[in-house]
Symmetry: D2
Subunit: 272 residues, 4 copies
């Protein structure tokens, strides 16, 4: 049968990224507490396509994923993407995986345990031309938190509006940083962290804690940024905080992004 | 050209609903303040299909929508759906429209005006066999509100968790009920209503009002239900309240649905 | 601390459903091929609330879920929901779980294996008052398929438009019906089934198969309905087919729902 | 009342972007056919915040939007964003608006007219420090099209799988480019364009046209890229094509992005 993808293309237009998008796949990820965690990933895989080829053999991406049997670890992305560039004869390869991740947390007073879910992601870009450091890896977490408005507290005789917010942290690092560490950083910046299970004594504690720690979206972004800046393993970060305001039907938003000073980090584009 | 849809089907399986789903269309709806409002509808239109026909001529739905030039009014649904049953030679016809609807609201203290958006919908089912009352119409609104937790307030020395919530009201009525009336009912049940624009004095007022009016999801559902039950125009309702809890990453939910007592309302299935 | 939820409510308005909505939780479900499958569920749990109680103790739902450690099986829903009614002192309890489910499938010609994902759900309603048969269980699957338009094929000199479609099957049964059986029924009704991994010889086979089996949305709904009607274990079903038309930006839709004739099935409302 | 936002912040962490996100607002946009078009926008507005200020006065964004009364035109973004930087005393300001846009199209054979909807967006970034050219504007369109697979056609004895796809075009330009022109470019690259209303003779024409014009996702991206590269008004573009494959439950994707050669375009980051 004819290999249409391999035909010659005369438009002289190379393609930066082509591949498969949003394939659901059961995956196993590293877990600091329990070593391994079963979850479900939404996977996208891409390569570049030189100007003279008509198309990409998309089924090869799925073959490579099948060979891994869903074992996804940041420590093997390098090999995996190198393999992809070889099989596709491409210069670059990239991988995006989004997945819900669960962490067992103890309620602050009763100490009852429950599982909290966090939407996490890895975005890995591999480039053969960058000989010494071909892999560029972003680790990301979305951490739901509680924020209590400093302005509302200050100007009101009693009470203060508060709400669920999402902090999104993305980092590039020189050494392993656990997802759990990023979650901790986000939760420590919050008016209060969230839990799936709270007894009455915990709810009292969370309510009062949040009232004592009012934070704007800007405060969250700054506190996380200050913490990440201090962490020597982190060479780039982007922090976003979005508050689902309880007094409005729109959201409040703040973003800080930085490269580590005096670090020879390649100039890279922000990943959304 | 052959009319494939009109071919004979031998499976002896009538189809209750067939048609087009999720067509975006610019629409003009009645507005209590300004007479008419331009917005964008997501429109679905269906008929039944007798067992002996193979298919439906789906393009006719779009032709009928085009003839109306986007003028959508509950007062003309009856005619529109009767027309559909004639053109399709069907016994039933139905229409669902979802649309954002804007209402100008004055902030509680400063009186500055801003537009709040509410996701609204009409669901109309027409049945030729129901001679006297062929049209069954549901009017629905989704009203974002603020809820402040009564338990959190009671057990805490200060503060109380609160959050954005959505109240969904659906009604069948014997006489016109304005969307704005349903929105008012939802907002009056709230710990506080939401606004797009609040000055500092308004934020203080909203914060304190909410602190003085703690409401569970159950309270919202009940208060709206009590108000709708008193309204003689309303012959059926369904109220749902969903709180995007600021202390959890899941939601709290409550639902009440009722027929008016002693009303000869046809037994109908809950929508959605 | 005061138990606010247990306070007396004077509005005389019972609540049909109240509880927690959209809690993400890692679950293990029964799998015909591999006995057990790890996946991630979106879980909602509800009870009714008598008119004289102010609120529901929502944290108890999460406690019950934790006790099960995520082991979700339709065979234990009865016990689980009976437990809920006891702990909440309620008359009814209900459970909804949505989850991606993976099935290993062999490509039609090359026989290469890959995993396909299907969004599935269980909706279980328990009512103490229905002594003999307190549990009402709906099993649902969303099956992506390919549909090729019979009209387009008939009227065109060559080619025929086709597209991805979703078939949703919901059933109530008298005996166990596997999710895999419902998936098979949906895929057998299709112009062609979908696969994550297809080699060239498979793509040829799928393309030609689909061209030889043109189906309207109405055909899919009917074929599935005919198959389910023949299956003596099934006492109620609802089939929906939605085509993401490749020639339009809106969808084509068809729905058939039926109770088994001569079966003493309780009159129940359509789910969703 | 205290102005909490204006308080001094000692963390020495400037914020690149802070503001309001996802406010729904009725807008009026320029329309090549009818001069003006009513639609509904999802609006986000941001400024930077110097390190010494604690917070942003978010309500001012809504005030500015209200003053415009929803009249949104790319020709006034410059003034609008300059106004924002003045009112907020910020160096930068940005605006994102997403909106459904409708274009009347004639079916290819019958010439019946119908409205097609396209999700469009403007992303405008203003920077006082860039004295001569402070405004950076991206115009974007999402164009649903039909794609027919060249490989499937080539290897199959009859038929070819095809599907709905979305082409996303983003451009920076030196002179006005109409949304309608970008839509045309996308539709001309397609196997066939989509319509809301097609008569039988049109469906035949579209089916055969698509069969005669097979295109991979890579072909779409390339053809659009070649057309945009030729257009002298365009100084930067990004084209994405995503096919909702009718034979898979995942999508095929291709992306090309380029700056105009020999153009003094500021180095800018890809949007999204």
């Amino acid at each position: 049968m004819q290999d249409v993808q391999k035909q010659y293309d005369s438009r002289r237009m190379p393609i930066q990224k082509t591949g498969i998008k949003d394939l659901l796949y059961p995956i196993v990820v590293l877990d600091r507490q329990n070593k391994l965690q079963h979850t479900v990933g939404t996977v996208s895989m891409y390569v570049d396509l030189p100007h003279h080829y008509k198309g990409t053999h998309m089924s090869r991406f799925v073959e490579i994923l099948n060979e891994l049997r869903g074992k996804i670890s940041v420590s093997t992305f390098d090999d995996m993407l190198a393999t992809i560039t070889k099989r596709f004869d491409s210069d670059t390869a990239s991988l995006e995986i989004y997945f819900p991740y669960f962490v067992a947390k103890k309620a602050p007073v009763s100490k009852v345990e429950s599982l909290m879910n966090y939407d996490c992601f890895f975005v890995a870009n591999f480039n053969k031309a960058h000989h010494k450091q071909p892999l560029d890896l972003i680790v990301g977490v979305n951490v739901p938190i509680m924020t209590l408005c400093p302005c509302s507290k200050e100007i009101s005789d009693y009470g203060a509006h508060n709400q669920r917010s999402i902090v999104t942290i993305q980092v590039r690092t020189s050494r392993l940083v656990w997802i759990e560490e990023l979650i901790d950083t986000a939760e420590q910046s919050a008016s209060a962290p969230l839990y799936s299970l709270l007894k009455r004594e915990d709810e009292k504690y969370i309510t009062e804690t949040a009232y004592n720690r009012p934070r704007f979206a800007e405060d969250i972004a700054r506190d996380v940024a200050v913490a990440l800046k201090k962490d020597e393993r982190i060479i780039w970060f982007k922090v976003e905080s979005e508050n689902f305001e309880s007094i409005h039907n729109h959201n409040a938003y703040a973003m800080v992004t930085r490269n580590r000073d005096n670090t020879d980090v390649r100039k890279k584009k922000d990943f959304k």
